[in-house]
């Protein structure tokens, strides 16, 4: 059963990558590399972990997701469309005049909890929301996705102190640790080294996973809460641009839009990946 879910999600990730590239190509703008690095995390959260759907989105007990690295919004839009929050066709309006689908998460889009885009904001909001759950005796959990470059914002560390101080084991922080930011490798921009030690010292219960591996992500999230009375942190080692050979680990693809040729090549690679997935699952 578990393996079936994992396999289903792997196919979804391929489809999501196809759609991410399609809408970025159509809009002629978007954050390609980060969306491809984060999409497996979103896939597992929305399709396996979180209790949130269009049906319960107004329910006070729903799980919350706040995408602090707002620039990877294309991945979020694609996953929310697949969850049924709005018709997928609406994504054709991405970044167009008058569209709700702007280049960072906005509450005008059904399914989005908070307006983000400026880095270093999501974790504080998530801490407040998780604290409200504790005060109200509710059992919902609050998930937030941070970029690794985003950790250079000091507000994250302010929020981390509060998360530990209030023992928010209903808070789940995921770091999309792809190692690149817009200028270059994170470690050459400003050293954020020893993240596991840093987060542990700040009071988190930390798990490290391959953030592009569906089974590893599922296994990690299935252990929530990692430790009673401690906020949870998933250090998700990812590959920026994951899934497309010439986009992977390329700084220039932070917000590069594929040319016609690049787009065609990427689609072929995803078709190949899907064929391989089918072969390994006995599907032709």
């Amino acid at each position: 059963m578990r393996q079936t879910i994992s396999k289903t999600l792997e196919l979804k990730s391929i489809q999501y990558r196809r759609k991410i590239l399609t809408i970025i190509k159509q809009a002629n703008s978007g954050h390609t590399g980060g969306s491809l690095s984060a999409v497996d995390i979103l896939n597992v959260l929305y399709n396996h972990v979180m209790n949130v759907s269009p049906e319960n989105f107004q329910d006070a007990n729903r799980d919350r997701f706040i995408q602090s690295k707002g620039h990877s919004v294309e991945a979020l839009y694609v996953v929310l469309a697949d969850k049924g929050f709005y018709p997928e066709a609406e994504l054709d309006t991405l970044n167009r005049y008058g569209s709700h689908f702007i280049g960072h998460p906005t509450r005008k889009v059904n399914g989005i909890e908070q307006n983000t885009g400026a880095l270093g904001h999501g974790l504080s909001i998530a801490v407040g929301t998780a604290l409200a759950a504790k005060k109200d005796g509710r059992t919902y959990r609050v998930f937030t996705l941070l970029g690794d470059g985003e950790l250079e914002e000091g507000s994250n560390w302010e929020a981390s102190m509060s998360a530990a101080h209030y023992g928010l084991d209903n808070l789940v922080v995921i770091v999309d640790y792809n190692g690149l930011q817009i200028t270059g490798p994170v470690e050459t921009v400003t050293g954020i080294t020893n993240l596991r030690e840093k987060f542990t010292a700040f009071g988190y219960a930390v798990r490290e996973v391959n953030g592009n591996s569906i089974p590893e992500l599922m296994a990690a999230f299935d252990q929530l809460p990692f430790e009673a009375g401690k906020p949870n942190l998933v250090l998700a080692h990812t590959t920026k641009g994951k899934g497309i050979s010439f986009i992977e680990n390329q700084v220039g693809w932070h917000h590069h839009v594929p040319t016609d040729t690049e787009f065609a090549t990427a689609m072929i690679e995803l078709d190949t990946a899907q064929a391989a997935w089918g072969a390994s699952n006995g599907i032709r």
Partner: protein
């Protein structure tokens, strides 16, 4: 004028009273419970105070999260830090995301006196006015403070309230009514009208009394709400006065005065006009009272400003005119 308490004390007492019957009211502080006179609140309702420590960005962000989950959140911190360090969080997490936090700037303006510019907030009204979806209220006295805090609890939108810590005289009649966005006329008078905000209103009332002794009828409006501005009250005052003087404990740029100036001009109203506030310079060292006196924000200083304004020929379009002018095209009220 009968002396009252500090607005800060009235804020704390009002909030404690409200919170005792409403467990959803939370106070969020940044090591500022003492500064905010909230020690009694913390002792009485320890579950309803959230301490963040000295971290104003996080203070505002956490408050936004709490409000998003239905809490009635008062984020309390000195206005100087709250609206500068926490500005992006106010803009994005509170206003843009429409989380109805009550952002409470304590010891605002030059309340901290000789502690200097780091502790003054003379920018906050300008900065917050330019942000969509946050209302701005600066109460003048104990009545306005109590009323805005009582109103704030169920106010459906983000709200910024700022006040000082000096004792304020009672300014209002017993039957006064308070509504966010509705100015209160304290003194009627058609020669000149002071439109003042916050702790400068009492000085404007003092000036009005001095001017009355000289036969000059000076009106006083407490413009407690900067945003949404009571435009009707401003235009009515302009139409029924010979001159307008705005008074604020804020930079002369971007606050009450410049907002009213823009309103008048865009309604084709031209009349003698003066913005009294803190000029664009290194603020003089002193107590709040001394700083006010230095910049003419006293009964005497404002009376002199009014006399000067009423007797100086008006320049309209570069031509001196001896009479005030309200355009025939003016269609206000």
């Amino acid at each position: 004028m009968e002396s009252g308490k500090a607005n800060l004390e009235v804020f704390a007492a009002t909030l404690l009273k409200l919170a005792q019957t409403d467990p959803d009211i939370l106070v969020v502080t940044s090591d500022s419970r003492g500064s905010g006179k909230l020690t009694s609140f913390a002792q009485a309702l320890p579950e309803q105070i959230v301490e963040i420590g000295i971290a104003e960005q996080n203070l505002v962000g956490v408050s936004a999260g709490l409000a998003s989950a239905g809490k009635k959140v008062f984020a309390v911190s000195p206005a100087c830090f709250l609206t500068a360090r926490g500005l992006e969080q106010i803009k994005n997490d509170v206003a843009y995301s429409d989380n109805p936090v009550k952002v409470i700037g304590i010891s605002a303006g030059v309340s901290y006196g000789a502690l200097g510019t780091t502790h003054h907030s003379l920018h906050d009204l300008a900065a917050l006015q330019a942000i969509n979806n946050i209302d701005i209220v600066v109460p003048a006295d104990n009545f306005e403070t109590r009323m805005v805090i009582e109103t704030a609890v169920s106010h459906p939108r983000p709200l910024y309230v700022r006040f000082g810590k000096a004792a304020m005289p009672h300014l209002h009649a017993p039957d006064a009514r308070f509504e966010i966005g509705k100015a209160i006329t304290l003194v009627e008078g058609g020669d000149v009208t002071f439109i003042a905000i916050g702790e400068t209103v009492a000085r404007a009332v003092q000036a009005s009394r001095r001017l009355a002794e000289q036969g000059i009828a000076a009106g006083v409006i407490s413009m407690h709400t900067l945003k949404p501005l009571d435009e009707t009250a401003v235009l009515h005052a302009a139409r029924h006065s010979q001159a307008i003087i705005t008074v604020e404990e804020h930079s002369v740029y971007g606050g009450l005065g410049s907002t009213i100036a823009a309103l008048l001009l865009q309604n084709r109203v031209s009349l003698p006009f003066k913005i009294v506030g803190i000029p664009d310079e290194y603020t003089i060292t002193g107590s709040q009272n001394e700083i006010f006196a230095h910049y003419g924000i006293t009964g005497e200083g404002l009376a002199v400003t009014a006399q000067h304004l009423l007797t100086t020929p008006v320049q309209v379009g570069g031509v001196a005119k001896s009479e005030n002018r309200v355009s025939e095209n003016y269609l206000g009220d």
